[in-house]
Structures are given as C-alpha cells and as structure tokens.
C-alpha cells in the first residue's frame, strides 16, 4: 500500500523555478503520467521523488514515510532511465541481480527472483547476454526487470520509451502497462509524448513552468481541459475568444454562440465539421481554406478565420468531397463539443 504524495514542493535553480509549490497525490497502484513541455519541471519532480534533486521546500511522502532527508539508496524506489543505464560490464542476469545483491539477499533466493523478473518481462532465456548484445526493446525490458525485482514501493520511469522507434514504442507501451498491472506497483512516469501519456496513465498531471496546471484521469482532462494551455498541450485545440453577453459568447465577426458562459472556448480539430453552404445553426464560422494536408487515413485542413489559423481533422474520404477549387467553407460543431476555458492565453 504505497501512495506517494508531494506537498508544496518547491525547487529553484537560481532565479528559475523548476518546481513551484507543487502538491500532488499519486494513488496507490496507479499509473501516473507527468507531462509538460521541456523545462516544465516534470523531470525535476520525478528526480525529487527519487532523491536526486533536493527540494528547497515541501514534503515528499512515500507511503507514510517522509523522505526529504532520506538518500536515494534508502528510498526503496525502482527507476528506469531514459538511456536504460544498464551496467555494460554485467550480464542481463547480473544487472537484474544487482539490487538484490546490494540488499544481501541469499544466492538461491536471488536466483529465483531474477528468473521470475526476467520471466515477467519475457526475457527468460537471455540472462547470460551482455546489454550490448540486446535490441533497444530488450534493453528496456531488462531495465524494467532490474527496477522491479527489488520490490520497490514506487516505480519511477524517466521517458522510458523515447529511445525506441515508433512501432516498438507502441508495443512497449502495451508491455509496460501489462507489467505494471501484474506487479500492481505505484508508478510515476515522465513523458513529453501526450499520446503515450493518454495511452498508459490512469491519471495524468500537466506541468507548466514548474506549476501543476491540471491533474486527473486522461479522458476527463482531455474532455474538459478548462484552460487554453491544457487544451493545446493535450491534443490540439482551436481557441476562440470573444466577449460575454447575456445571450452567450459574441465573437469578433459578431457570431453569437448561445449558452456559452466563458470568454474563451476550445474546439478540437476532430470535433469540427464543414459544409459548402451555411449550416442551419448558430455554431458556425465562415472560413477561408488555406491548406490541405494529406497524411493517409486522416487529413487536416488549415483554415483562416479573421486572421486566426484554425485546424480541422477528418477522415480523408470526407475531405475528398471538398472541390479542389474551393476557397471558402463553413465550419460547424455540436454545442456539446464546446470546451469552456476558465482563462484564455
């Protein structure tokens, strides 16, 4: 039963705040994805939980234990590094056994646990290999086995899949999730790949400039981003801003969107539809077609609305119906697809 919690965590590097008063709970047994642009503090937060970064202020709790003053080697963590950091002079089995040896686990017990861990990551027969003889995906699995074999209280993953090519990454995402479920360990991972975060996590936290912007289950955050940064960072978003009137949101082209109660809204590119003729709804915009991007099954339209770029994605077979010489279109959307934003930017 290990819940991890950080309270009012703050860390500055000179004038730059890498972490600014972050309070966050990582639920027991959950898979928590930390994401944000580079420099947002997500890696600093992970390394603070690991113990490689000493916070200026705040508390870190692993289970009921306050660990701010506990060195890395006593925190009972497992960590997978971006570069995997396998010991090159040791075999796969020796790598996995390292944490057990350090803990003075007797040899027979150690052997059994190493075999069990390698079995879990489906590398049962590669124990005798050196890391240099493994593929990227296999190294990743060894790193996982090594991190969990000591039965740590929390598993920390630092961009664990970023070194893999796309096909392998998708495969390893499924594997990571399977392994994490089987072990049931509280897992925190850092990624800059929002799709990866959505796929893997039970909960996500979005950081920006050292602050926690948003936290919650991926679908809930995606469906209700609440602010423009989250809307744009998690998926893509067209943000429209206007002035609030009693009847709704008045846009600069005097379109009135009834029922909207915030000055800004976001519309997902995939939530937009188009038509050649004015649709019979107030939720519509007249736009100029700027660019059509073909990328296989789905296509993208870049549209201009009063100097602002808007984006629409749709199945390519729908986009094909737009005449080649079309210059303007009508955009429309369902009232339910409007994502109200508390604050603009």
């Amino acid at each position: 039963m290990t819940e991890v919690r950080v309270e009012a965590l703050t860390k500055s590097y000179g004038p730059a705040k890498a972490l600014d008063d972050v309070t966050l709970t990582f639920p027991d047994g959950g898979f928590f994805g930390l994401l944000g642009p580079s420099g947002s503090g997500k890696t600093t937060l992970l390394r603070a939980i690991a113990g490689f970064v000493t916070p200026d202020r705040g508390r870190i709790l692993i289970g009921d234990r306050s660990v701010e003053r506990v060195p890395v080697e006593d925190r009972e963590i497992g960590m997978v590094f971006q570069s995997y950091a396998l010991f090159p002079n040791m075999t796969v089995a020796e790598n996995v056994a390292f944490g057990l040896e350090v803990r003075r686990i007797p040899a027979p017990d150690r052997k059994a646990r190493v075999a069990e861990a390698l079995e879990l990551v489906r590398l049962g027969d590669l124990g005798g290999r050196k890391p240099s003889e493994l593929s990227g995906g296999q190294r990743q699995r060894v790193a996982m086995a090594r991190a969990i074999v000591t039965r740590p209280r929390v598993l920390l993953l630092d961009e664990p899949l970023s070194a893999l090519d796309r096909a392998l990454r998708v495969e390893m995402q499924i594997e990571l999730k399977r392994i994490q479920r089987e072990v049931g360990i509280t897992t925190i991972f850092v990624t800059h790949d929002q799709e990866e975060a959505l796929t893997l996590s039970d909960r996500i936290g979005i950081l920006r400039d050292g602050r926690l912007v948003r936290e919650g289950p991926p679908r809930a955050v995606y469906d209700d981003p609440q602010d423009a940064f989250t809307a744009r960072f998690l998926g893509e978003a067209n943000v429209l801003t206007g002035s609030l009137e009693p009847g709704g949101l008045r846009l600069s082209d005097s379109t009135l969107l009834p029922g909207v109660t915030t000055a800004s809204i976001a519309l997902r590119p995939e939530g937009l539809a188009f038509s050649a003729t004015p649709p019979d709804t107030p939720h519509r915009l007249h736009v100029t077609l700027k660019q059509r991007i073909f990328s296989g099954a789905t296509g993208t339209l870049i549209l201009d609305w009063r100097g602002q770029d808007l984006k629409l994605t749709a199945p390519e077979r729908d986009l094909k119906t737009i005449p080649v010489d079309a210059t303007t279109l009508w955009l429309t959307w369902n009232r339910a697809d409007i994502l109200p934003l508390r604050e603009p930017v």
Partner: protein
Amino acid sequence: MIRQTLARAYLALILIFLYAPIIVMAVMSLNASQFYALPFEFSTRWYERLFTNREILSAAWRSVWIALVVATIATTLGTMAALALWRHDFPGKRILQTLLFPPIAIPWLITGTAMLIFFFGIGIGRGTPAVILGHVALALPYVIVTVTARTASFDRALDEAARSLGARPFTIARRVTLPHAAPGIVAGALFAFAVSFDQFVVSYFLAQPGDTTLPVLIYTAIRKGFTPEINAVSTIIIVVSMALMILAARYARFGGTK
C-alpha cells in the same frame, strides 16, 4: 599509384627516422667488437658482462622497484582525483583541472631544479624518498588524463541507477565505476611506470650519488667512457619501455576504436 608509392615511402622515412638509431644501437649491442667495428660479428658477451656488473644490476633493480612504487602511488592518487573531478562539482574545479596539465609541458630540468630546492627547503633533501616523490608528481597528470578520458564516456545515469537500486558509494565504485574506468587506470599505471623508469633529469637531481637509478648510471658511465654494455642495457630499456607504451596505448584505446 604514384601517390600511394610516395605515401608509403614517406611512412618508411618516418619510421627510419624514428627507429634507425635504436636499431643501430640494438644491433651493436650484439656485435662482438667494442669499437663498432664491421663486419658484424654476433656475440652476447656484452649482455653477459652486463649481468655480472653489480653496479648496473643494482641500479636496474632500484629503477624497477621505484617505478613500481611510483606507479602504485600515482595510479591510486590519480584515479581518486579523476573520479572526484568526474563526480563532484566544486568551486575552483576548472582551475584545478587546468593546473593539472602544465607540469607535462614544463621542462624536466626546471621541474627537477625546483624540486631539489623545495625538498631541501622542507628537509627531505636528496635520496630515494625524494626521487619517488618527484616521480609521483611527474606521473600524476598522466594518470589523471588517461582515467579522465575513460570517465568522460561514463554515463552518469549508471551511477544514479546503482543508487536507485540501493548501492552505497563504495559498492558503486567497486562494481560500476571502477570496471568502466579500468582500461584507463591500467593505461595510467603503465604510463606512470614508464615515466618513472625512463626518468633521467629529475632522478639525476634528486638521487644520492651511489644510490642511482639506471638512466642516471648510464649517463655517468658514458661520461667515464663508453662501453657496449651500455648498448645492451639501453636495448633492454627500450624493449621494456616500448612494450609498456604499446600496452598502455592498447588499454587507453588510442586510435578511437571502441
């Protein structure tokens, strides 16, 4: 074709330039004549005389054990220094790193003089301890440079991974850091041995008369009168030194292959 031939000739000239005097010396150490008379007549008499010459043997032995002691001390200190420089950041680190290199470039004559004055000033004076201290000071930068060359390629995440697995600094050093740095350490030790074993100038300044190392003895012997025994002992020194350097180069992996 012509360019290739010219390049080969050029390479041959360089090798001749480097090795011709040495080869002549090695050949003459096997010539029976004391006065380099030709035709060449094979003989091992100079080597036989060498191995009955007590003075040369004791100087050679002294050179070897001093070099071993120097290599041990310099390698230990140098490795610790290199690892500390790699692991920690501290004020003045850059200055310290920069200051480690000039001793390699300062002429030994000047280093030797400075050491002699300094050692007399602090009461060590001349003698074998002074020679060892001097040699360690000369060899240390070589060790630090070769070990640092290895640690530069060390992934910091390895250190962090070991810590995350619960390992203490000593275990990390023994199981992770040192195995990685080992080739650099071995190369550094070989360099240190060679620097000490081949050292003339500093030894000449710091050794007690009658308590000399082999290079100093050779120099003294040449002044008294040249004998082919010197050729013989020099040939042995050359073979040993070259073997050490080839080994060191292999361990340090000069030439870039990994």
